[in-house]
Subunit: 146 residues, 8 copies
């Protein structure tokens, strides 16, 4: 039984590569999908496909059309969603992806540092499991295969 | 990850073949499905299977039974829907297929020429992405696989 | 038992007033809701609330945000949807509203002139009932209360 | 037709009172519901009902049980959701409430200052309408009653 | 708490009147809705609204458009469905209405004579309760109000 | 694209074998599933697994538990449902299976002889397509693959 | 805003009356519905309506038809479900009602004594809130109206 | 056609191994999934992944997060659910899993000894089939493949 895991969350470090490497080391039968992790590509995709927009507002809106399209396709394929929150930035996309997953009854794991316990408390409470490290998230998924 | 794409829209030129050829050239793992594109076959299918009907109204109704059956089967298999609007004809089937897809939460791309911006504005607004060319629609889908 | 009826369709003549007057004459316990029928107001509502947009494309998109918001609120309240197609214009909003209603299992009546039988055949086939006059549509609704 | 509006968002100023006063001035037939806006009460509600918890993590989790219960009851009653983002704090509850509303097909308006266009772009794109002021949000709702 | 009860089933005797009279005698707070019980009106409604059809097949199809429209509106309002099967006729509408109700999670009671136990066994098995008399069906509903 | 077809309907002649043979002759990529077609096995399955029941009522109820379980598993796998009505018997299981399929949005074809037009009119009207012969039903399905 | 609360759980003491009295004392606008709390009536209702059954198994099955019918009607009306577990008996109906409510997205409160923490841990974890006393459950509901 | 079967229920004897062995002996094309059956691992999994918790309540809650995550993933993959009740313990997880499956329209078989007829009567009544032995449950599933 192969499971598809959507990796929502920040794109400012290589946590996805780390997680995928550890999953492979444990021989877990997982397929990983994710948002566009090249930040510039993600911000510019609207103009790169649709052409120059009249201002940043419209550039952002054109990019988000296409980013949301991508996420919707991939999340519908996912059996599990992991959402990682880091300490920097607003990360509203991560909150949006985690909430979408939960509302659609996708089993969902949140990874967040201890410092974010308070601001994330209602969302953590709705997710299935909240952990602090990538390693713990994989342990939770690995438990399915025991 | 292979995706199935339903190609709704006009059947008066060969845009589907063009799109499929470009997809193949880009090695995108896509399977394409579509309505009946032989216009005469589509109009006559009711009488060809069920026999002569008493008037054009009933001939049309018999054909649409079978065309709607086909579309329902294939759209339920689709991960993505592309709906292309051209400048001629009423194209209410295209509007119907796009709306059905959107209401069923199928990720949906509309292709339409600049001249149709105004009459299509509410439907465009509900679709995930609206573009002007087949090439751009493929770029949007290709972005999923980056 | 009071029923709410959403009146989708063209806004270029006074068919809604006619229908409401006839419903009142028959003492049918119906509440009518509808899209914005002042054409200019509907086209300009985006700029009137959000301010000047950089071009017609963005003006249209801003208007359609708000028109779609209105339709979504009111259609969710509706027990029945009537969609009237006239002979002019693309009327893709009418096709979109009728299809949304059908996909959401709202009982739906289409009113269209004989000249539109062929281009509307697949959508007519999915609606519950297709008639040619406002009077007939009311007869269908009146039948519920017999 | 009376509509119930859930007011998600920050609880650090009196925007809800302002909005309710303006709605009353316009005679809009709206009922407003909202999360607990007394910040201390919201943070302490878990311990106030369930008793002292072993640490802040558990205090937060107990509070969020009850805050999420309240939100779920009230949002299920809502016809419309308004989510206001301010410039301070993480506001992940606001993002969670807006996303839940959108995923459940509740018509949703986002209010955010211009400075938040970029970080909110994907969520804005999924909402029905995004505006910058409370007044504009009310204009959008008022448009339903024209 | 007032409940709406849809009375599906044969229209060849006055069981609905009998049931409504008994409900009134017991002061049960029930509102009853039902299909058209005037058999001729039900068979002819298509032609009476839409005009002469080319043959019995089309006359029947036109009538069923409107009968199904009526049933869909009223069943969506129903809290409970009662379906009564008698010994004569095919009664496929009764089977269709009972099955629709069950599939939509409407609490459903079947009334049927002992002679129909065998042919109705799978449908009975899916309904909530199967009884033999109108009186028993009312007892089951009355039990809700104890 | 392989499609699974559930063959609901009478078990008193070999129409399923005939249909499967013709499908094979046309090289249609179809997998067929069906209810238990051994009539005695179907009637006795309850007692054969659960032991002697106190009367025919309970024997029938035990059998229908298991027949309904089988149908639910297989219909959930089906992309298409064909329901064939013959001239004999009540065939309420066929009506139940067709209605379940339609209510679950499974594309559905009804096969019935001309003599059953009138009693089946409302159910026919809800199905996608109604035909008179097994050959025609296969033509409708074959049309998907053109 | 009036809320309907379904009170699932044991019927061996008068906790419902106690809870309703306290709700009234706090002026909470709540309507309470519940299963049949007369234990004998609940066990015998099948035979009382349908007549003598051949053994206890069938007597129980007849009763449960009607008890499940009642619960389904009332729970569909409920905005909130409270499920109280006591220390005696299996109480599988309470577990079933709580789980049904949770799966249907009804906001759910579990009341259970400390001694039941361990056996109820997975179900508690899925409910919105778990408390130990009737008073606490009312506090949670009262919080909605602050 | 391969089917996935979720085996809910007690983990105090080896009934799952017995059932899987018999399924293999009959060549039934079944894949079995189940909750964690190592009782200690199931009770301790929260602390083993998340670290020491402040008391048994929190240890249990942490474990149930992860057990519920596992069950949700696996049950979403299941075509059929079998829930076995034994005579010991509260077994509320079994009741919860069976009810979740039934509410999600998963075809469900309950296995229980004769002694549990009365306390399980309402849940049995909602399941598709109730049997007394593992052998009978397999006979029911085997019947699908006849």
């Amino acid at each position: 039984m192969e499971l598809t895991v959507y990796l929502a969350g920040q794109i400012h470090d290589n946590w996805r590569e780390e997680l995928e490497k550890k999953a492979k080391a444990k021989n877990l039968p997982l397929i990983f999908v994710a948002p566009q992790t090249n930040h510039d590509r993600s911000d510019n995709i609207g103009e790169e496909i649709l052409g120059k927009q009249p201002s940043n507002l419209y550039k952002d809106d054109a990019a988000s059309d296409i980013n949301n399209f991508r996420t919707q396709v991939l999340m519908q394929k996912a059996d599990i969603v992991i959402a990682l929150f880091g300490e920097k930035y607003k990360q509203w996309n991560t909150a949006m992806d985690a909430t979408t997953a939960i509302t659609l009854n996708k089993p969902t794991i949140i990874i967040r540092p201890e410092s974010l316990i308070h601001p994330l408390k209602e969302l953590s409470n709705k997710a299935n499991v909240t952990v602090e490290t990538v390693e713990q998230a994989l342990d939770v998924i690995g438990y399915i295969f025991e």
